[in-house]
Symmetry: C2
Subunit: 287 residues, 2 copies
């Protein structure tokens, strides 16, 4: 990973090399690991072994990996060590997005950015916009890194605040965030992107209309069961790309009811989803 390239360029290279918009979420849950990796092992060790085999089985099929911090910190400092080791196991040509949904301010935000980017070596981080632009400055000013800002999340209750009409125009808060991020994108060196849940394809279309050039991280197509085709139609950009389609449980636990051969169904699930996405990209590509 050369520091001379941007997150956006590294992502585009991986999309091209693997012909894939698929991002695999490395979200280990002990109770769902294949039996051969479960107790009586040390949880952190089981997580690292599991992730390493998932990575091995899918590294030629994905455009990115996305570990979610919560599944690691659930196991205390040992879980953090498992995340550190997982990061090291990912081949250098695949960008890694830390899903931390971080949102803090001032010196703390500096500490997070230095930590996640330089100490941990992540290529991009998901962040929460609630604290405002200045809170994100330590992330936004990094030309080599990616900052993916929560816009409309995939959960049923995301509307509690994200759908509230704000300001004179009564635009939903999530679209107001999208417009601001589009503005930030022209003013800051980092590669910016947005998180929009596949479960809300109308809002996704509205975000894409306002932000034609921003990459959108799309959770909610796997276990959360958003309609993949509708989401792709709504979210693909003019070049039939611009989406990072995340799936976690539907891929990584695909073989967990099997014995030692559990990694084969993981690879098959990743391959099938990559194919579905590519097929839809072909169908929706502009003339």
């Amino acid at each position: 990973m050369s520091e001379a390239t941007t997150f956006r360029e590294r992502l585009a290279s991986a999309v091209e090399r693997n012909q894939s918009l698929l991002c695999v979420g490395l979200d280990p849950v002990l109770g769902k690991l294949p039996a051969s990796l479960r107790a009586p092992r040390d949880p952190a060790r089981a997580i690292v072994e599991f992730n390493a085999r998932v990575i091995e089985a899918t590294a030629d099929l994905v455009c990115a990996y996305k570990p979610n911090l919560g599944f690691y910190l659930a196991h205390g400092a040992a879980g953090a060590a498992a995340l550190e080791e997982t990061r090291r196991r990912i081949p250098a040509q695949i960008p890694v997005i830390l899903d931390a949904k971080v949102g803090d301010l001032g010196h703390t935000s500096e500490a997070y950015a230095a930590g996640y980017y330089d100490e941990w070596g992540f290529d991009a981080v998901t962040v929460n916009p609630y604290l405002g632009e200045d809170s994100l400055e330590p992330f936004l000013r990094r030309p080599d890194k990616g900052v993916i800002i929560l816009c409309k999340t995939s959960n049923p209750g995301s509307g509690d605040f994200q759908d509230l009409p704000v300001g004179d125009q009564g635009l939903p808060l999530s679209l107001t965030v999208a417009e601001r991020v589009s503005d930030w994108s022209g003013r800051w060196p980092a590669s910016l992107g947005l998180v929009v849940g596949a479960t809300y394809s109308d809002q996704l279309a509205a975000v894409r209309q306002r932000c034609p050039d921003l990459p959108i991280l799309l959770p909610g197509v796997g276990a959360q069961a958003g309609d993949l085709d509708a989401a792709l139609r709504a979210g693909l950009d003019r070049s039939s790309a611009g989406l990072i389609v995340n799936a976690s449980r539907s891929i990584i636990f695909a073989g967990s009811d099997l014995g030692e051969a559990w990694a084969e169904p993981v690879r098959a699930a990743a391959m099938a989803l990559r194919e579905s996405i590519n097929s839809a990209r072909g169908n929706h590509s502009p003339a």
Copy 2:
């Protein structure tokens, strides 16, 4: 810490025992540690030693401690181990608030709550409301724990989204959050609270008016230089309490330009701030 008591009860006990609304933020920054603790040491070890002495110097002066996750994860998994050890060094009668500003959903939110409460042993966690009520359920349903929700943060840019007028009444988003949290507070078993920066005393007064009974975590009185007296006048509840007044750098680095005796100024700074707060509580107590 008996599981039979609520966070609110444990906080009230500590307030009473130490006659204090002061919360010390355990936010270590390597470059600001006393020289005797700096290089060539292992950073994580230096952090633990520093925190242990700060705790020793202040444990009879505070109502809570608040480590911010960012200052630990900045040092990778070793920093996470330092946080774990720091937690263990805090006496059982002082509640510990993890400042993680977490906001995630579904299974991830479950993982965070189980992790921060049960694996790490924190008494309360700060959370971000942007993802909505359902995203916070794993935190809200814990009768023994505290959930402190970001409302109006202390940074200059907090207004970017938090001040936007929402809905028919044009209430700022931060006050809309405060009203929702007041509603959640009647429906969920956890002890709820709000974060409002001392730098915005008008908004603090408006939050206190709408939420007369919720504890408010008040950052921004120390290094961030909010007006302490104005903030206390705006934020104290009817019993001249209801605030958790956080100070970090102005306390913990008070002796960093000294030699071995650096913990004495730390204690003196904590004592002085506790006194200022108590004096203002006396002045503003209702007749």
